[in-house]
């Protein structure tokens, strides 16, 4: 399948490109018309071929690729460098007008790509700009518009950026808001993951967000007794299973996973939604399920 040689960089380039960063597209160099008649060796290099990669014909992107570790593309996005940082000294006859990812890469990747490798599921290839051809208004869907992880090329923030040509997203404190629902509480909240940079902070944010609501909920559920301010109990132990509630999250595949197992950075890139569930009701069966399960859980005790 195409694109297995893509790397996280393309995503970064794509994102950097999209941020605009008040960079206009620069003019191609004008001037004397070079004689770029059919230079066969170049053109051959650029040709799409069916077959395994030819080895030494390839561009320096190969070593380039080795330099870039296989970080998730989203992490590359977060670091958001420009194209120019990333591109190594390319050979002079590179034709960047070929199947590029992020408009920067050579046909090396493409030639490889032409030997489709469909049988196995690869690790996510770095995205090609504008492919699949989906408009931005649809791209927000799978992240239900809260998480900014899948690069929505024209999210509202980016629009303002591109119009005013101002600061890129990564340098500001633009929050990463994820929806969070607590079982038994009808009102959902949103938590800014950028503001928490560790699980501990997240746990205390959960406490802050829901302590009052939970108390209010308990109050109303106690058959209208007009008691004074119900004592607000802090919500604790959501990460280690010791508390009354446990924090789980849903990832980009719809699976439900206990929070805390993966490194924080990785968690932030895959989390789509958070839930605070009663520890007693949690069982292995409820976790790691597919969308069907998720749905049946939703129609259960948890509120909408």
């Amino acid at each position: 399948m195409a694109g297995d040689s893509r790397n996280g960089e393309a995503g970064a380039n794509f994102f950097g490109f999209m941020q605009g960063n008040s960079r206009d597209w620069l003019m191609g160099s004008d001037g004397s018309s070079r004689n770029v008649t059919a230079c066969s060796p170049e053109e051959r290099k650029l040709e799409l071929r069916l077959g395994p990669p030819g080895g030494e014909e390839f561009w320096s992107t190969k070593e380039h690729e080795k330099k870039i570790s296989s970080r998730g593309r989203d992490e590359a996005l977060a670091s958001s460098s420009y194209f120019s940082h990333m591109v190594p000294a390319q050979t002079s006859n590179n034709s960047l007008n070929n199947m590029n990812t992020g408009q920067k890469f050579s046909t090396a990747s493409t030639a490889k790509a032409s030997a489709p490798n469909v049988s196995q599921k690869r690790t996510a290839p770095a995205p090609v700009v504008g492919w699949p051809p989906i408009r931005s208004s649809r791209k927000n869907l799978s992240s239900s518009s809260t998480s900014n992880l899948k690069p929505p090329p024209k999210s509202q923030d980016v629009v303002s950026n591109k119009i005013s040509g101002e600061k890129p997203a990564e340098s500001t404190g633009k929050g990463l808001f994820v929806k969070i629902n607590m079982e038994g509480v009808p009102i959902g909240r949103k938590v800014d993951l950028k503001a928490c940079n560790s699980y501990e902070k997240l746990a205390s944010a959960v406490d802050e967000l829901f302590r009052g609501l939970l108390a209010a909920q308990r109050h109303t559920s106690h058959s209208g007794k007009e008691t004074k301010q119900e004592e607000e109990k802090p919500i604790s132990g959501v990460l280690d299973g010791t508390g009354e509630y446990t924090l789980v999250y849903e990832d980009n595949e719809g699976d439900r996973i206990l929070v805390g197992d993966v490194p924080w950075d990785m968690f932030v890139t895959t989390v789509k939604r958070l839930r605070v569930l009663k520890s007693s009701e949690l069982s292995a069966a409820n976790l790691g399920g597919n969308k069907q399960e998720k749905r049946s859980l939703e129609s259960g005790p948890s509120s909408r």
Partner: protein, 602 residues
């Protein structure tokens, strides 16, 4: 609801309208030549199709003049093909204008920001020339708040503003329209980005009854003042089309629906309860609100759907002609009870979350289906593919009247595509997007040539084709040979050599819009189309094998063609003449002068 439809043509003007010159009233006995012209004017008023009008204008000078005087709707397919002043000079009595700007690939970030397509020059010129302008339709153009203010100020009787895939303005601009255009009937902001300047534009509509018939802001990502909206809906008795953005919760939708049971088109907004408020929304009887809307034929929205509420729409399903669930992540079990009631459905947009099984249910329930769009929930190349050739086959068998299909999938077979070409002979639009690049037939491992070949061969009415998957030059040979009516062709990651593009340019005589990306077509292929480029609206080629030299040759050979080269950032040092993006189009007024640095015009 179609994203790429030509704008609807307005009705023929009222014969009693003042704009028809009636010389007879001034000169009792007109010159004999003038008699013919007067008769012609009266007759031509009824000619609305622009192709017919164009043909009429070519008959002779007299017809040209008369046609120009009676043309009330002008369509400009490429805003740079002609200058605003040339348009206003030729057509002095225009009431309605449609202008298209950027090419479609701009939607997918293949074009530099600030490339162009500004509405400013148009509104400035038309503001002076067309004081009676009533309708503006723009697609993929950039407007500023100032442009909108000027529009509101210039056109006293302004009635309809339709902005599709536009950008550049904010809520301030909308406020200007709302407050200045007292006759406004239609405000349609489909797919248009509006910056949130914090202005409460909904409150800017005039007090008292409005003429509003259509208020569409489903993709405007700004919160709105709901009370103002409710009041607006309540005082707009003519309102038929209302499409809300996702900030509007289910409870709020209810309140609006009970005030507007006359709606025919509804975009439901979030279709879920709001999270912001304190107490949870009152549990309204949503089903009763829907059953009160007896005229509802088009339903969309469901932006943040809570599927448990879906049964509320059952009362309207039987009458639905168009249903857009493409933002609703629902599965087949949730789709089935709805779709099996939608016997009259002609247009359906869904997410692939409904899976092949869901598409089978559609095929079984909707024999009248004309248009189907299946969007990917997870638009990545290697995601799980819930729909496949199975769904396509089922649809082809159950929906023989299908005219338009857009289908995103991860795997496909030639057999299914061939089956569709035979089962659905009325296909006009066939757009298949196999999301993995260069993917062959899933079963046979062959290229997708035969499938697309069958489509162009068997679907004799086909005018629009978008290809994907592994394709060799052979596929293009088929397209060139059989795709005689094809006007729009989209190609990505396909073909082997120049020959592929040559087949298309030499064979597709009706080709108007050709957009190609990441395919190995070079200068030789480009030059093989010289005979045809003046007949086209545009040619887009990005990340192909073009060189400056080749493009320059085209520019020299065809002086009326504007040949734009766009550079991706960072390539300015690359002096080898390679071309990132070629975008070229015919123009009567030569190259534009509003380009940014990334654009070179040869």
């Amino acid at each position: 609801m179609s994203e790429d439809d030509e704008p609807g043509r307005p009705q023929p003007p009222d014969p009693g309208s003042k704009k028809t010159r009636n010389c007879a009233a001034v000169h009792p006995s007109p010159h004999p030549d003038r008699v013919l012209e007067i008769v012609l004017e009266h007759v031509l008023q009824f000619l609305t199709a622009r192709r017919d009008r164009n043909a009429a204008s070519l008959v002779c000078k007299s017809w040209y003049r008369t046609e120009a005087l009676t043309r009330s709707h002008v369509f400009i397919g490429n805003c740079y093909s002609v200058s605003p002043s040339r348009v206003t000079a030729r057509f002095p009595r225009v009431r309605s204008v449609a202008i298209k700007g950027r090419p479609r690939f701009a939607d997918f970030n293949l074009m530099p920001l600030n490339w162009g397509a500004h509405f400013g020059p148009w509104v400035a010129t038309m503001g002076k020339a067309y004081p009676w302008l009533e309708r503006v339709y723009l697609k993929r153009m950039s407007l500023t708040d100032r442009d909108l203010c000027l529009l509101g100020d210039s056109f006293v009787g302004f009635k309809e503003l339709e902005l599709v895939c536009c950008d550049g303005f904010g809520t301030g601009g909308l406020a200007a329209i709302a407050s200045k255009c007292s006759q406004l009937r239609v405000l349609d902001l489909s797919d248009t980005e509006v910056m949130n300047d914090g202005v409460d534009w909904i409150s800017c509509f005039p007090e008292g009854e409005t003429c509003l018939e259509s208020l569409i802001f489903d993709y405007v990502e700004c919160p709105i003042n709901f009370e103002a909206l409710e009041s607006l809906v309540a005082r707009s008795p003519a309102l038929k089309k209302l499409r809300l953005n996702r900030e509007v919760s289910l409870g709020q939708l209810y309140r609006l629906m009970v005030r507007a049971p006359q709606l025919t088109h509804l975009g439901t907004g979030a279709f879920g309860p709001s999270e912001a408020q304190g107490a949870s929304d009152q549990e309204y009887d949503y089903a009763s609100a829907f059953s009160a809307c007896k005229s509802l034929v088009c339903l969309s929205g469901f932006r943040e759907i809570v599927p448990e509420y879906l049964p509320a729409i059952y009362p309207v399903c039987a009458n639905l002609v168009s249903l857009n669930l493409s933002h609703a992540n629902i599965n087949v079990e949730q789709l089935k009870p709805i779709i099996c009631q939608c016997r009259k459905l002609q247009v359906l947009w869904v997410l692939d979350s409904v899976c092949d099984e869901g598409l089978k249910a559609v095929a079984a329930a909707c024999p009248d289906l004309r248009e189907l769009r299946v969007f990917p929930f997870d638009p990545q190349e290697d995601a799980e593919g819930p729909v496949s050739e199975v769904g396509l086959q089922a649809i082809s068998e159950g929906c023989p009247k299908l005219e338009s299909i857009l289908y995103f999938c991860q795997r496909m077979t030639n057999a299914a595509v061939i089956a569709m070409s035979k089962n659905c002979p009325d296909l006009v639009v066939f757009r298949l997007c196999i999301m993995g690049r260069h993917q062959p037939d899933y079963v046979t491992r062959e290229p997708m040539d035969e499938g697309f070949g069958a489509i162009v061969m068997n679907c004799k009415k086909l005018t629009r084709l978008a290809t994907s998957g592994l394709m060799t030059d052979r596929a293009f040979a088929y397209i060139g040979k059989y795709g005689k009516l094809v006007r729009t062709l989209s190609v990505a990651f396909a073909g082997d050599s120049d020959t592929g593009l040559k087949y298309v340019l030499e064979g597709c005589h009706n080709l108007q819009k050709l957009e190609i990306r990441d395919s190995p077509f070079g200068d030789a292929a480009l030059l093989s189309g010289l005979h045809h480029y003046y007949n086209m609206r545009f040619l887009w080629m990005s990340s192909c094998h073009l060189s400056r030299q080749g493009c320059r040759e085209v520019a020299r050979a065809l002086p009326r063609l504007v040949v734009e080269l766009l550079s991706y950032e960072g390539n300015e040092k690359m002096d080898d003449g390679a071309v990132d993006v070629l975008y070229m189009y015919r123009s009567l007024d030569g190259p534009r002068n509003d380009t940014s640095e990334s654009v070179t015009i040869l």
